[in-house]
Amino acid sequence: MSLKGAAYIAGAWEHPTRKAPDKSIALLHAECAKGALEDAGLTKDDVDGYFCAGDAPGGLGPLSMVDYMNLKCRHVDSTDVGGSSYQVAVGHAMEAIAAGRCNVALITLSGRPRSEGQATGTAPRPGNPAAPEMQFEFPYGPATANLYGMCAQRHMYEYGTTSEQLAWIKVAASHHAQHNPNAMLRDVVTVEDVVNSPMVSSPLHRLDCCVISDGGGALILTKPEIAKSLKRPLVKVIGVGESPKHQAGGEIDLTYTAARWSGPPAWAMAGIKPSDIKYASIYDSFTITVLMQLEDLGFCEKGQGGKFVADGNLISGVGKLPFNTDGGGLCSNHPANRGGITKIIEAVRQLRGEAHPAVQVPNCDLAIAHGTGGALGTRHCGSTVILERE
């Protein structure tokens, strides 16, 4: 049985903060939950399913947060695959709703790496030495930026992709961010600005990298009957897919992402193709992340991503595929170092017609929100969500 349409996104809310030294992570989660419930027109007591990931404080998945928010749940899920956990949660929530295990699912993300002074992309973070890969990776300094830098370097080698082409992705994001009062970086930048910004980890420059921000977001998914009883525009989940990609025992191929595998089941469930999409939220930890995912989702041929993103093709009102119209992780927000939920929230805004007028896509009825969690250079999980305005 297809899950297509088994759940609707009834509520979506992004925390406006980008720096929150005076708030606990638990409070940020709760504020996001409250915001999304108010957006949907529901209350805390309506929630019977809770979904979170590794950013939720406390050691045992959802337990600390359901306690803190005093939720009475019939179903919980804390699948953690990094920044795409929230796309995964949309799929899992839809399955739970279809199975009758919950009717109103709450998904939250929050964190404050900026207030905590994390050098997120440039300082390797040691993990549990019992993780089987740890002793074979950590000594070599895998700090997020160089794990993506290695992908960019190989992509350039195989396909002739250039730094200028990658820069166009940041340029497009900055064109959108100028209209977002909450965005961290609101100045419009040029290709020259990007390629002349300091090198972080070759071939990625500072402006190829996303921001480090505090904040968060939340989503409410409900069964169709509940969504239709509410006053908000109807946003139906019509396609989901998830897949991890890893080092495969040493058979490394860094030229593609897990979107190659998470995309097809989502497209098949939705019954549409990439050219039908009016708006795309594409995970943008780095410019190269966007380029590779666009190829792997089928928006262009493999290796043609550089040409596809160039010359403003991702700028709303200018190009063929408006992307990340809130400014994305590259300019607006990457809360908890996890950009998955903000991707879905901006897609919901677009489908409701509630994006900023300067970037709103006319007649936006089909949108995609794709996430990548973990690191493209080692292990990651791709997850694809396709949404339709009803």
Partner: protein, 133 residues
């Protein structure tokens, strides 16, 4: 951009994971040890007891130490900068490493490299690094 030695951290000890201890014992003796499956005959990395291709049993083998650069990235923000990369071993698998004793600006994908060994800090084990052949 010239290579400058940096302190190499290590988490845990070679005893943390008994499964992989011979890898570090080999490195301390100047040998790059890899695992080859006795069933499907393929070599994998990082080392595991059970073959990640067929779950067959594996045995240790000394690799030639010859490899080609698959990709790399120079972390210029670090002090000192360092070059991470994957090299594809003559035996098959690609392994994560750093490049040492070389000009980072001269690194090229496809370049021939060879193994060398560097001690990790605080009395940790030696680890394989790669340098132009």
């Amino acid at each position: 951009m010239a290579y400058v030695a940096r302190k190499i951290p290590f988490v845990g000890t070679p005893d943390t994971n008994p499964e992989t201890k011979p890898f570090f014992q080999g490195a301390d003796a100047g040998k790059l040890m890899v695992r080859r499956c006795t069933s499907c005959k393929k070599v994998h990395h990082y080392p595991r007891e059970l073959c990640p291709f067929c779950f067959g049993n594996c045995e240790w083998q000394e690799a030639s130490g010859k490899a080609k650069i698959y990709t790399f990235s120079v972390m210029e923000r670090a002090n000192p900068p360092y070059a991470i990369g994957y090299v594809t071993l003559e035996e098959g698998p690609s392994v994560l490493t750093n490049f040492v004793d070389c000009d980072f600006k001269a690194l090229k994908i496809g370049q021939d490299v060879k193994v060398t060994f560097v001690k990790t800090e605080d009395g940790g084990p030696s680890l394989p690094f790669f340098t132009p052949a």
